[in-house]
Symmetry: C2
Subunit: 201 residues, 2 copies
């Protein structure tokens, strides 16, 4: 009987997720075949199916990994001395990801697929809810310190920050001239003005 | 030889576009069959193909119609006495459309399809560029009257208004609790604070 090496298993899974993610970003989720993923990952179909039983299962794993990466990012901010600055820094991180064409394309592919595939949709929605909750936590701390308008509802304001982040990726899909590096200071500006204490409409 | 009645032709086309739009919103673009569109429109496949040679052609026509409706909407605003208020009113119109579940679902289906189908993608991009140009025109007038921050680049600011509008539709896809009617005043608020003259970051 062959021994199972958990680390090796994880490394193989990650190798497939990366190869598949590249394929999805380049060719689209539906246009990508299992054979292409196998070729990109350098393994046989039998070997691939040992780790993932479908393309959808690979996307689910990619979403789960993104979710745990994001959770770890926000967990590390719990002790941040300035939660408002931490929020603005997070926006810069988002724009850096948006500037990565392969990442952005994969994110858009996953969002499109999430609409049609309930297993993926449930995972992206859960991940999104966690991100909004983490943003709301930063906002509550910023409001308590007078750095953000305490007249806003933190969860609702977090939704609008999330809407702006979604909007960045839609812009990338829609407008070939939208340059995330050029636009990063604008995202900070829009969010800063929105949250500014004492703003009258 | 049968005479062609152009009005009747247009009415038939519109009847198909509406029936197909309903199907796409309910079942998704890919899951919808031509047979379902025929049944919903109350016509035979032969008759349907006389007007549109593919599902994609129907979506292209829906995008073109939306584009000309939007152009007419903004053309009517050229004489608006208060272009800043006209922009905020436009945002309310967007939120009213977003509150229409069938419209919102169709918009998301089209956005997803635009990523994969170049004919649809080119049309949505052209329509989007026109909408941004119209918003930039309103912003320039508002800046000239001191109603909007003249330190902003109008085209760039219009992109961020567009990003927020995109973001609303992404929220609808992602967050079942996002209620466009409840959120409409927030879209006005975010945009108003962003554009407010004399805002320091």
């Amino acid at each position: 009987m062959r021994k199972v090496d958990p680390e090796r298993q994880l490394a193989k899974r990650r190798q497939i997720m990366e190869a598949a993610g590249d394929c999805f970003a380049r060719r689209g989720f539906h246009a990508t075949t299992t054979a292409e993923i196998c070729a990109a990952a350098g393994m046989s179909p039998g070997n691939l199916f040992h780790y993932f039983d479908s393309k959808s299962a690979i996307v689910e794993a990619i979403v789960d990994e993104e979710r745990s990466d994001t959770a770890a990012y926000f967990a590390a901010l719990e002790e941040a001395p300035d939660s408002f600055e931490a929020l603005l820094d997070f926006l810069d991180v988002v724009m850096a990801f948006a500037a990565d064409k392969s990442y952005a394309r994969l994110a858009l592919e996953i969002a499109a697929e999430a609409m049609r595939n309930p297993a993926i949709g449930a995972r992206t929605a859960a991940s999104d809810a966690e991100t909004r909750a983490a943003i709301a936590t930063l906002l509550r701390a910023a409001m308590a310190r007078g750095q953000a308008d305490a007249g806003l509802d933190p969860a609702q304001a977090a939704s609008w920050v999330a809407a702006l982040i979604d909007g960045v990726f839609s812009r990338l899909a829609m407008d070939a001239c939208f340059d995330p590096q050029r636009e990063a200071p604008m995202l900070r500006l829009v969010v800063s003005r929105f949250l500014k204490p004492g703003s009258a409409e």
